[in-house]
């Protein structure tokens, strides 16, 4: 099982993930239409790119925009969630040992206790987001089963990985579950709302271009997000 999951299935999931994301990006850009969107993308590319970069970068920083600032609790949890989601697996010692064994290189590794804290923080933030969905009427009305499924797909590799590492028994079950759930996440990214992994940048960039070109950017006034 382990052999298959870490062999062909792993490669297949990476391939689907990378190709899928690339296709999403290409289709997004191809589907932009200066007249329908009412944004002269190519006529004013430099203003557009400036607007796009500002629109992306400011939103990538906690409290970088008014929306983040007026929602401090959500923003904090949201950033903890995304930071842990991306940095924990990439810089996890165990992952980098495998990387070294297979490809001869590795990235700097997080100290074990820190990786544990980040994993727990991620799981806790998922719990927070679930509770938020249930507790707040303005979020509850929007929430569907799909939203919980996406959260579950995201949290599963962390929960299983944490168990594999810390439980004294059942290692082979948990490690297989961990790998499989990670692969499920990779495969589902291009086909679900998780596509915001790349489409966040596209959509934010587009609105940034809109503001950068049409809605004021060319009046010498950058938008205060």
């Amino acid at each position: 099982m382990y052999q298959i999951l870490t062999g062909p299935v792993l490669w297949l999931s990476f391939a689907v993930f990378i190709t899928g994301c690339a296709v999403r990006i290409i289709l997004y850009i191809k589907g932009l239409d200066w007249q329908a969107d009412r944004v002269a993308y190519t006529a004013h590319m430099s203003y557009g790119l400036k607007g796009a970069v500002r629109s992306i970068v400011l939103w990538l920083f906690p409290f970088g925009t008014r929306s983040w600032r007026v929602n401090p609790v959500f923003s904090t949890v949201f950033f903890i969630f995304h930071i842990c989601l991306i940095f924990t697996p990439v810089f996890l010692l165990a992952h980098n040992i495998i990387l070294k064994q297979r490809f001869g290189f590795s990235l700097p590794a997080l100290p074990g206790p820190l990786a544990d804290i980040m994993t727990v923080a991620l799981i806790a933030s998922v719990v927070f987001m679930v509770l938020r969905r249930i507790a707040l009427s303005e979020v509850r009305i929007l929430t569907t089963f799909y939203d919980y499924l996406v959260l579950a797909i995201t949290a599963a590799p962390f929960i299983t990985g944490f168990f594999a590492h810390h439980l004294s028994s059942g290692y082979s079950f948990w490690i297989n579950a961990h790998i499989l759930s990670g692969e499920i996440m990779f495969v589902t990214i291009p086909f679900t709302k998780l596509s915001h992994f790349v489409l966040f940048f596209m959509s934010r960039g587009q609105l940034g271009m809109d503001y950068g070109i049409k809605r004021g950017g060319m009046k010498g006034k950058s938008f205060s997000w």
Binding site: G31, V139, T144, F200, S203, K221
Partner: protein
């Protein structure tokens, strides 16, 4: 396919059609016919497939249902935080559902969409700047309005309004003759105080071509005279076109994209005919948005820009004050607390947030900002055509509460609102809630405090 005599999928292209609609008091027959209007689901789906491109598709798809847009919406706040007023919910349950069902929707669904798109959204686009994914629901509602219009589901006043643009190239039945006569009448009317007042019509190669809102010749002709006086005091070489003077676009509110194109092209034609150096647009927000910001796209101008540089009236005022063309008598500056209503259309959606502040620094001693303000300001409550829709008056009045409270919080009793829609909404707000405020465009205020050069003063002074 059953269609009404008044309420149907056809555009209004003749005066006879307009008269028939206008004679239907409050749209009684029109809305009755709407109850029986059949949805051409094939055409609707074909139109969606053709026009729903990656931007809108992605917006619908990646909405994370986080709810951050809720507090950004004045309708949500004004309606006691009713979850059904959350922007994401509003768009998902209308456009989102329509797409999901591949256009297979019924009359009741379309009427629900119409109510949501017009009575629960003023297309102020504030939600778009609070969404981490940059999902602009105001833009999506504008798109939905277009789909609804193509199926005949549009409020009665906006069906008339878009027809007016098609027939008169103006939002109201103001003909070229009416317009030219109004200009001449105003010259005569103001003769005693301003003996040399001229409203130059169709002068070629002027520095400024001034264009306006049909309400001005129709209901507020003094506004035209005030503009003329201020241009004259500033020593501007200006003109108005006899045709192509109307900047507004009820067609944009209605989503009648064909009429939008007709309307802005009439203005661009005037630009080409008279070759002015630049255009100044009156104190109207959506007019500027329609003709200067969106218009070039309807007209197919790939640069996204008007044939000649176009500025909003507030930009002209700021420039005139900055360069000393208009000088304010310091003793006549506004002494009382005064606040300023940022129009969504030229502040959030056209980058002019700094301009009003500059103007206020010249004319007001105690300027107080609303909170939030500038790009983050709330819609007046009457944008997107809502002021003019009788059917949704109640919903509009509830929405005004947010602006009311914002104004009250400043402590100012005078609100400067250089936008016809904002001006109307704030007037109505006072009528409904009696908070004891006054409201004004810039022109009359400027006239009361500007220094008049000797040669323009009336002889007997």
């Amino acid at each position: 396919m059953p269609e009404g005599i008044l309420c149907n999928k056809k555009t209004v292209d003749t005066k006879e059609q307009l008269d028939a609609l206008l004679s239907d008091k409050n749209g009684k027959q029109y809305y009755e016919e709407m109850n029986h209007l059949e949805v051409d689901t094939d055409a609707l789906w074909a139109s969606i497939q053709k026009t729903l491109k990656s931007r809108l598709k992605t917006w619908l798809e990646i909405c994370a249902h986080c709810g951050l847009c809720a507090e950004s919406c004045f309708f949500y706040i004004a309606n006691n935080r009713d979850p059904k007023q959350v922007p994401s919910y509003k768009i998902q349950s209308t456009l989102g559902e329509m797409v999901k069902r591949k256009g297979k929707v019924d009359n009741a669904f379309m009427q629900m969409c119409m109510e949501t798109a017009f009575a629960k959204c003023s297309c102020c686009t504030r939600c778009g700047i609070y969404c981490p994914h940059g999902i602009d629901m105001g833009i999506m509602f504008g798109y939905l309005r277009g789909l609804l219009f193509s199926q005949g589901f549009t409020p009665w006043e906006l069906k008339i309004g878009s027809g007016m643009h098609r027939v008169f190239h103006a939002q109201m039945d103001v003909t070229t003759e009416d317009w030219v006569e109004t200009c001449q009448w105003m010259e005569e009317e103001y003769e005693d105080d301003w003996p040399k007042l001229k409203i130059p019509i169709d002068v070629e190669n002027a520095d400024i071509i001034y264009t306006l809102n049909a309400r001005e010749p129709k209901h507020y002709p003094d506004d035209i005279a005030e503009a003329a006086i201020l241009f004259q005091i500033a020593g501007e070489n200006w003109t108005v076109p006899s045709e192509g003077w109307e900047e507004t676009s009820l067609a944009m509110f209605a989503g009648d994209w064909g009429a939008c194109k007709i309307q802005v092209e009439s203005v661009y034609k005037a630009m080409e005919r008279l070759k002015p150096k630049r255009m100044v647009v009156t104190e109207c927000g959506h007019a500027y948005r329609a003709t200067v910001i969106e218009g070039p796209y309807w007209a197919g101008l790939k640069t996204g820009q008007t044939p000649v540089e176009s500025i909003h009236y507030v930009e002209w005022v700021a420039e005139a004050l900055r360069t000393g063309k208009l000088k304010i008598d310091p003793s006549k500056k506004i002494k009382e607390p005064v606040t300023y209503q940022d129009s969504c259309n030229y502040v959030r959606n056209a980058g002019l947030a700094n301009i009003p502040r500059e103007i206020m620094s010249y004319i007001a001693e105690d300027f107080r900002e609303m909170k939030p303000c500038r790009e983050h300001n709330f819609c007046c409550g009457g944008g997107g055509g809502l002021n003019g829709i009788g059917l949704y008056r109640q919903q509009r009045n509830v929405g005004l509460k947010v602006k009311r409270d914002q104004i009250l919080e400043t402590g100012a009793k005078l609100v400067i609102a250089p936008c016809h829609n904002c001006w109307d909404a704030i007037r109505d707000l006072e009528e409904v809630y009696h908070i004891g405020i006054r409201w004004s465009f810039l022109k009359p205020l400027l006239l009361s405090m500007v220094e008049v050069p000797e040669h323009l003063k009336p002889r007997d002074e």
